[in-house]
C-alpha cells in the first residue's frame, strides 16, 4: 500500500488535488497469438486513474487503447488474446489474480464500461428496462419489480423523456443518442467507482455528442466516478479530460495534465497528432492560401512486426540513430508530465 502511495505522489502535479488512485495498471502486456505472428496489442502499459477524475486515453486505430480497457475487465477473447504480463490493481487486489466469479462481481458493479456502438452492445431482443434491471438485480439482489423501478429511475437520471414508457422499449425503437443514454444508465446503475467509456460518442452526431458528454460530466459530479475516456478525438479530450495518456503502437508515449499536453506536447507523435487536426477557429480565419495540415508521414507499423528501438522513429522528423537503436523509456520531464522520447527536451524547449 505504501508503495502505491509513493507512486501516486510522484505522479501528481504540485498544486493539483491529489486524488486517490483507484485503478492502477502496471506494465500490462496483452498479446494476440495469430497465424501471422504475435501481435503485441498492449506492450508494457502503465497508468493510473484517480477517483473523480477523467483520464483521457488517446491514439489512433490499433494503438492498444481499447485492448487495454478490455484487459481491465478481463474481456479479451482467449484465444487468440492473452494477458501475458503486468498487474491491474483495483481496491488493493490484482484483477488478474481473481477468479472468473470474483470478476463477475466487479464487472458492471465496481467497474463498468460503455461502448462505441450501442446498437451492437445492447441486446436487441430485450427491452432496455430488462437490460438495466438485470445488472441491478444481479449486483444489488433486488426483486424484479424493485429493479424495474430502479431502471425507470436510472432512465430519468440520464434524461430520457417519458422513462415509464421507454423502460419497455426495445433498442431499435430508440434513436442513437437515446440508446447511448440507455447504455450509460445501465453502466452507472450500480454506482461504479470506475467507468470506462470506449469511444462513447464516436458514432453520434456532434449536437448529440455534446449532450452525451454533458450527461457524463453531470453524472461524474454527482457520483465522483473515475472516468477513463478512450477516444481518437483530441477535441473531446481537451474539453473533458483532466489528465491524458497518449498511446502509440501498444505503448504509452506521453502522459500529462490536459493543460500541459495541449500547451506543450513533449512527444513528436502527440505534437504531430495535434498539428494534423484542422482547428475550427484557425480554419475559419485562413484565407485563400490555406495552410497545409501538418501530416505525419507513413503509417502505423504492424503490431506483429514492430521496428526496433522507438516504434515511432520511422515516421518521426526528430529521429536519430539513437532512436533506432533503443526504445526510449518514460522520463518525467516536469511534475506529472511523462514522455517516452530521446529528444523530448529539444521538443519542449522549442515549444516554449
Amino acid at each position: 500500500m505504501s508503495q502505491a502511495t509513493a507512486v501516486e505522489q510522484a505522479r501528481s502535479a504540485p498544486g493539483a488535488e491529489p486524488g486517490r488512485a483507484i485503478l492502477e495498471i502496471d506494465n500490462l502486456q496483452t498479446h494476440f497469438f495469430t497465424s501471422a505472428g504475435v501481435v503485441r496489442a498492449v506492450d508494457g502499459v502503465s497508468y493510473a486513474v484517480r477517483s473523480g477524475e477523467t483520464l483521457g486515453v488517446v491514439g489512433e486505430s490499433g494503438c492498444g487503447k481499447s485492448v487495454t480497457a478490455l484487459s481491465i475487465l478481463r474481456l479479451v477473447a482467449d484465444p487468440p488474446g492473452r494477458i501475458v504480463g503486468g498487474t491491474i490493481r483495483f481496491a488493493g487486489n490484482n484483477l488478474l489474480d481473481l477468479s472468473e466469479s470474483e470478476m463477475e462481481g466487479i464487472r458492471g458493479n465496481d467497474i463498468s464500461m460503455i461502448f462505441q456502438e450501442p446498437m451492437t452492445s445492447l441486446n436487441p431482443l430485450m427491452t432496455v428496462g430488462r437490460q438495466i434491471s438485470e445488472a441491478i438485480a444481479l449486483h444489488r439482489g433486488l426483486s424484479r419489480r424493485d429493479a424495474r423501478d430502479q431502471a425507470v429511475e436510472m432512465l430519468r437520471r440520464v434524461h430520457i423523456p417519458e422513462p415509464e414508457r421507454r423502460v419497455d422499449a426495445y433498442p431499435h425503437q430508440l434513436s442513437g443518442g437515446m440508446r447511448q443514454r440507455a447504455m450509460i444508465a445501465m453502466a452507472v446503475s450500480c454506482d461504479p467507482k470506475v467507468l470506462i467509456a470506449d469511444e462513447p460518442t464516436t458514432a453520434l452526431d456532434v449536437t448529440i455528442q455534446a449532450q452525451i458528454l454533458d450527461l457524463m460530466r453531470e453524472l461524474q459530479d454527482r457520483l465522483a466516478t473515475a472516468i477513463m475516456l478512450i477516444t481518437h478525438d483530441m477535441g473531446v479530450v481537451a474539453e473533458n479530460a483532466d489528465r491524458v495518456v497518449v498511446m502509440y503502437a501498444g505503448r504509452k508515449v506521453e502522459e500529462a495534465s490536459a493543460e500541459a499536453l495541449f500547451e506543450q506536447p513533449g512527444h513528436p507523435y502527440t505534437k504531430g497528432l495535434l498539428g494534423s487536426i484542422p482547428n475550427l477557429e484557425v480554419a475559419a480565419h485562413t484565407g485563400a492560401r490555406r495552410p497545409r495540415l501538418n501530416e505525419i508521414k507513413g503509417m502505423v507499423p504492424s503490431l506483429a512486426d514492430l521496428p526496433r528501438g522507438c516504434t515511432f522513429a520511422p515516421r518521426c522528423a526528430f529521429a536519430t540513430a539513437e532512436c533506432e537503436a533503443a526504445s526510449p523509456p518514460l522520463f518525467q520531464h516536469r511534475a506529472g508530465h511523462w514522455i517516452a522520447c530521446w529528444h523530448a527536451d529539444r521538443l519542449l524547449d522549442g515549444a516554449t
Binding site: 489512433e60 486505430s61 434513436s175 443518442g177 437515446m178 452526431d205 456532434v206 449536437t207 448529440i208 455528442q209 455534446a210 449532450q211 454533458d214 481518437h232 478525438d233 483530441m234 477535441g235 473531446v236 479530450v237 481537451a238 474539453e239 473533458n240 490536459a258 493543460e259 499536453l261 495541449f262 500547451e263 504531430g272 497528432l273 495535434l274 498539428g275 494534423s276 487536426i277 484542422p278 482547428n279 475550427l280 477557429e281 480554419a283 475559419a284 480565419h285 485562413t286 485563400a288 490555406r290 497545409r292 495540415l293 501538418n294 501530416e295 505525419i296 508521414k297 503509417m299 502505423v300
Partner: protein
C-alpha cells in the same frame, strides 16, 4: 459569370413501399428544396448531421439519382432531363470520391484497372497511353506505380482513398464531389488526404463540393460553407462569416458543439441542443428546426422561413432576421 454547377429548388423524395402490392405509403423527404452553386476553382463545403440529405444532394446533382423536382445546370446548360447517353460528355467533367474506400473499389479489379476504367469507358487514348496515364496518376496521388497490379485489399485505408482520388482525376474533371472523403480515416492519414486534395486543386484548378459532417474539416478545406438541416440548406456564406457571425440558430449550435483541441476549450460557453434530429419521413411543419431551437417563436411552428440574403453574400433561412439582421442571435429582440 455562369456557375460551374448550379441547382435550383432541388428535391429528392424517396418513396416508401409497403404491403404485398408495395404501394407507396409515404416519402422520405431527403432533399426538400435546395438551391446552391459552385464557382470555378472554389470549394463549397456542405455540412450537416446524419440524415440531413447532404449525401443525397451530392449524388442528385451529379444525376446519379434522378431529382424529383428542380433544375440542374452545368456551365449554364440545363442537364436535368438528359438521358444517360446525353449525360456522357457532362460526366467527364464531374467525378465523385466516396466515403468508404473499402466499399467503393471493386475487390476483383486491380488498382490500375480501377483507375483506368473511366478512360476505357470514355474511350480516351490507346491502351498504352491509358497505362501511362494511370501510372502518372498513381505517382501524382502518392502511390508507387508498381502498386497498379495489386488488389484493393492489399492497400491500407489511406492508400485506398488515394486510389479513389486517382480514379476521380483520370478524366481531368472540372468538378469533384467528395462525399465524406476523409471520415473513415485516422487523423494522421486524414491530414495526408486533405493536403493531397488541396494540392490537386491548385494544380488542376479543380472545384470541389466537399460533403462532410466534421465542421472543422469543412472549414479548413472550403471557401464557402452551406449548412443543411433536414433536407434544406439553412445558411450559406464564406467560412469566416459563418464562424464569426452565424445567422442561423442551428449553425450556432453546431459550431458550439464541435470540440476544440486546445487547453482553454474546457471553459468555452456552449449551446447544447435538446432532443434528436426529427425524421425526414415526417418532418415538422414550419421551420424544420423549431422543435430544437432555443429561440423558436410561435410563427416558426407553421411558417417556413424564406432562404434569403440577410447580409450581402450571407444567406440564411430564419424568422429572427425579419426586422433586420439580428446578431448575436441570443440578444433580446429589438436590441
Amino acid at each position: 459569370m455562369t456557375a460551374l454547377l448550379e441547382v435550383r429548388g432541388l428535391k429528392k423524395h424517396f418513396p416508401i413501399h409497403k404491403g404485398v402490392f408495395s404501394h407507396v405509403s409515404g416519402y422520405v423527404y431527403a432533399v426538400d428544396g435546395v438551391s446552391l452553386h459552385i464557382d470555378r476553382g472554389e470549394t463549397l463545403g456542405l455540412v450537416g448531421e446524419s440524415g440531413c440529405g447532404k449525401s443525397t444532394v451530392g449524388r442528385t446533382l451529379l444525376k446519379l439519382l434522378e431529382p424529383t423536382e428542380g433544375r440542374i445546370l452545368a456551365n449554364g446548360d440545363d442537364i436535368t432531363d438528359l438521358d444517360a447517353a446525353q449525360m456522357l460528355p457532362y460526366r467527364r467533367q464531374m467525378q465523385m470520391i466516396y466515403q468508404d474506400p473499402y466499399a467503393s473499389l471493386n475487390p476483383r479489379m486491380s488498382a490500375g484497372d480501377i483507375v483506368g476504367e473511366p478512360l476505357t469507358i470514355h474511350r480516351v487514348g490507346a491502351p498504352r497511353e491509358r497505362r501511362e496515364r494511370v501510372a502518372h496518376l498513381f505517382d501524382r496521388v502518392g502511390l508507387r506505380p508498381e502498386a497498379m497490379t495489386a488488389f484493393p485489399h492489399e492497400f491500407s485505408g489511406g492508400q485506398r482513398q488515394r486510389i479513389g482520388i486517382a480514379r476521380a482525376l483520370a478524366l481531368n474533371p472540372e468538378l469533384i464531389v467528395g462525399d465524406e472523403p476523409v471520415s473513415a480515416l485516422d487523423v494522421s492519414i486524414q491530414a495526408q488526404i486533405i493536403n493531397l486534395l488541396m494540392d490537386l486543386q491548385d494544380e488542376f484548378k479543380l472545384s470541389y463540393l466537399f460533403v462532410a459532417h466534421d465542421l472543422a474539416v469543412v472549414e479548413h478545406i472550403s471557401d464557402r460553407v452551406a449548412v443543411m438541416y433536414l433536407g434544406r440548406i439553412v445558411e450559406t456564406t464564406d467560412k469566416t462569416s459563418l464562424f464569426e457571425m452565424p445567422l442561423h440558430p442551428y449553425t450556432e449550435a453546431l459550431l458550439s458543439a464541435v470540440p476544440i483541441p486546445k487547453a482553454s476549450a474546457k471553459t468555452r460557453k456552449r449551446v447544447i441542443l435538446t432532443g434528436d434530429v426529427p425524421s425526414p419521413i415526417n418532418p415538422p411543419p414550419g421551420c424544420h428546426f423549431h422543435a430544437r431551437c432555443p429561440y423558436a417563436m410561435a410563427r416558426c411552428r407553421h411558417e417556413v422561413p424564406l432562404f434569403r440574403e440577410v447580409k450581402p453574400r450571407h444567406w440564411a433561412a430564419c424568422h429572427l432576421h425579419d426586422g433586420g439582421v439580428k446578431f448575436p442571435l441570443a440578444a433580446p429582440a429589438g436590441a
